[in-house]
């Protein structure tokens, strides 16, 4: 059964650790169980504050969150086995094939996009990339995503519009080619045209060797990118799982109905 699983989350509990001494830790994830299958697209939906963004940050190893219980296991390409990533730094998880696109990507003043991308690829692939090859690869991806090449001469996300930042995330995704792409609210703040471009960028990368986790509030994105499985998150737990018919039900009845049903059960 576990042979086609890429990522397995078992009984995951996590809290937000504030660096200020006198603040108590805030518990956000309360025992998540979730399996992401190889080559499948999963959607995680849930109301505000349900822990969606925390889950994505914890999966990638953000230092502000502490896992207090449970495990995250990712299939290691070399060993073929599911192995815990809890002790791995974010960059080590990235090198294993995990990728997170951010809801609000940070700006880094003074860091040219092209320098950043080349450094990232060098680390992900474990080898230097000749400048010429890199430029060619970059150019192809930019044009496939209908992006302005001038963006790569600017500093990372500095002065970028919301839509440009999101497209920069998709550009990185398509260069890095991860095994698992976790996209945290990639649809937020996008107008219809930008959403269409971003979605087609994602669909370009959907194949049997790559899994997607789409974290979203709304049905919008899922009309463009069809999920194989849908998981509903509330108060730090998965309360409902199903096929893409769940999206329709959710749209009609709202989160409230699911949350209540889960509490009764």
């Amino acid at each position: 059964m576990s042979e086609n699983i890429l990522l397995e989350i078992t009984n995951l509990h996590a809290e937000y650790v504030n660096n200020q001494e006198d603040n108590e830790a805030i518990k956000i994830l309360n025992g998540i169980n979730l399996q992401i299958e190889e080559g499948k697209t999963h959607a995680i939906m849930g109301p505000n504050g349900s822990g969606k963004s925390t889950l994505s940050a914890v999966l990638m190893g953000h230092p502000s969150y502490k896992v207090t219980e449970g495990d995250i296991r990712f299939r290691n390409t070399k060993s073929g086995q599911l192995e815990s990533v809890l002790d791995l730094e974010p960059h080590e998880r990235a090198r294993l094939g995990m990728f997170l696109s951010f809801q609000s990507p940070v700006s880094i003043p003074g860091l040219p996009v092209s320098l950043f991308l080349r450094n990232s690829l060098k680390n992900i692939r474990g080898e230097e990339i000749a400048v010429r090859d890199f430029r060619k690869e970059l150019k192809e991806n930019l044009s496939a995503l209908e992006m302005n090449p001038d963006l790569t001469k600017r500093y990372l996300n500095e002065g970028f519009s919301g839509g440009e930042k999101k497209r920069m995330e998709i550009l990185q995704l398509s260069l890095i080619q991860p095994k698992l792409a976790i996209l945290d609210e990639i649809d937020s703040g996008l107008d219809i045209d930008a959403l269409r471009q971003v979605s087609s960028g994602i669909n370009r990368l959907v194949d049997a060797n790559r899994s997607f986790v789409l974290i979203t509030h709304y049905k919008r994105l899922l009309e463009y990118v069809k999920p194989d499985k849908v998981h509903i998150l509330s108060k730090g737990r998965i309360i409902k799982e199903g096929g893409d018919e769940l999206v329709e039900t959710l749209e009609k009845e709202g989160y409230e109905a699911f949350v209540k049903a889960a509490e009764v059960a």
Binding site: E89, P90, A94, R95, P105, V106, P109, N119, S120, N123
Partner: protein
């Protein structure tokens, strides 16, 4: 200090007569044995060794008297100067003596840094003070020929004194007189080496000039003295120093740099100092900009124990523009007290100050700056931006901006200061793209320094970025 002051009380006139006795003798006959401490005899000997004209000896002696009377400066990290022992310093060392330093004496951490920066062995020895001259004659021969064709004068100061006395007598010490401050007086008394540049009117020197291009270049001196004159509508860029660590056993480096930009001229002066951390680096740098002239200081401070350096620009002619762009890195046991002084003395003058500092491992960096707008300098504008980046909780950063505005008519003054830490979310973002924490940190820091780095010639920029990366990895002791 007090004992020195007593020496000074001797009759000055008798020394002037004596000078003829010492002057212009065959140097071989009076082998000069340098010794610690400063006295009138030391100053006379320096001048004699160099076969200087009387007016320069007089200037040195006058400066010595000022040095001995003058109190320590009251601007800067004044308390730290108490540790400075003037009697324990060699004020003049002949090149032949300098060459005697053994490679084994150069500290291991500095040698390691040379290796990591990939600096060739010959250059390592130059930077380590093992050889006093850098063998670059062949490479730069054609550059020197091009300069000669343009009529550009570019020599060391000692040579300039012999070959171009008329220019020196006109401009030398006119921007920074010996009575400006105690260290300017000290330099004036014992100066040796440094660069002299004169650019004729309407001449654009296309390549940046570096000390390496000069004939028989000496290693950066302890009391070097630099004078650059850009005549009307000319343009020149001078680069001093290097990014790689410079090892010296001398504990005091006190240079004087004077820049004169005549009407419509442009001077850019770029420095990166990376003295070993035993050095007090107390430097006086000042420029004047005449009508529509432009002066730019690009100033990087990475090394030394204490640096006090405030490149100044006097905007004396209408429409003149001044620019000071600086970075400071303060690591363990280091204090970088740097900044700038801009004086608007004419109408419609403009200035721009951008200061970036990094503090790590308990290092201390300060921005100390003065902007003065004199009455009558109407329509002048100035913009000051200071950004400090702290790399841990032990380190310290201060900002001391002083503004003296005497004119209100059309004057615009803008000042902004920020202090920040390396942001966890930035690091997480970069790490989520496969980049290790150390590499992520240096990418954020290099980005912070980018407004400075992008103004440097490529090879300096690359070396600076590499150096910062080594610092972040803790690879430098």
């Amino acid at each position: 200090m007090e004992s020195l002051a007593k020496d000074k009380d001797k009759d000055k006139a008798s020394f002037e007569k004596e000078d003829y006795k010492y002057g212009f003798h065959d140097p071989d006959k009076s082998v000069y044995k340098s010794e610690k401490g400063l006295s009138e005899e030391v100053v006379r000997n320096i001048s004699k060794m160099k076969n200087e004209p009387q007016w320069m000896l007089d200037f040195r002696l006058k400066s010595l008297a000022i040095f001995q009377k003058k109190p320590m400066p009251n601007w800067g990290d004044v308390e730290s100067l108490d540790d400075l022992k003037f009697d324990d310093i060699y004020y003049f060392v002949k090149s032949s003596e300098k060459q005697e330093r053994d490679w084994d004496d150069v500290p291991e951490d500095i040698k390691n840094t040379f290796e990591k920066l990939g600096i060739p062995e010959a250059e390592q020895k130059f930077l380590g003070g093992v050889t006093a001259q850098y063998e670059s004659e062949v490479v730069y021969h054609s550059i020197r020929e091009d300069l000669e064709k343009l009529g550009v004068l570019f020599t060391d100061m000692d040579t300039a004194l012999k070959l171009h006395p008329e220019i020196l007598q006109k401009y030398f010490s006119t921007i920074i007189p010996p009575n400006d401050n105690k260290f300017a007086a000290l330099n004036s008394a014992v100066w040796s080496g440094g660069s002299f540049i004169y650019v004729p009117p309407d001449t654009d020197v296309a390549i940046p000039l570096q000390a390496y291009f000069r004939i028989n270049t000496e290693n950066m001196g302890q009391f070097e003295r630099t004078l650059i004159i850009a005549d009307k509508n000319s343009k020149v860029h001078y680069i001093e120093g290097c990014t790689a660590p410079t090892y010296t056993s001398d504990s005091l480096h006190s240079a004087v740099v004077e820049l004169i930009a005549l009407e419509g001229a442009t001077i850019r002066y770029s420095t990166i100092q990376n003295w070993s951390t035993n050095v007090y680096n107390l430097v006086t740098k000042r420029a004047v900009a005449e009508k529509n002239a432009r002066v730019e200081w690009v100033d990087g401070n990475i090394g030394s124990k204490l640096t006090m350096k405030y490149p100044a620009i006097y905007l004396n002619g209408e429409g003149a523009h001044g620019e000071v762009l600086s970075i400071a890195y303060a690591g363990k046991n280091q204090h970088q007290d740097a900044g700038s002084k801009i004086v608007h003395s004419a109408p419609n003058t403009t200035s721009n100050i951008l200061s970036k500092s990094l503090s790590k491992d308990g290092g201390h960096s300060s921005y100390r700056g003065l902007v003065k707008v004199h009455a009558g300098a109407h329509g002048s504008r100035t913009n000051v931006q200071c950004d400090a980046l702290m790399l841990d909780d032990k380190s310290r950063s201060d900002t001391y901006p002083y503004m003296e505005i005497e004119e209100e008519n059309g004057v615009k003054v803008h000042h902004e200061a920020t202090v920040s830490k390396v942001d966890d979310d930035m690091l997480f973002y970069l790490m989520s793209r496969g980049i290790s924490e150390d590499e992520a940190k240096s990418m954020v820091i290099n980005g912070f320094l980018e407004p400075f780095t992008k103004e440097l010639p490529m090879e300096y920029a690359v070396e600076l970025n590499r150096l910062i990366q080594l610092e972040m990895e803790g690879a430098i002791g």
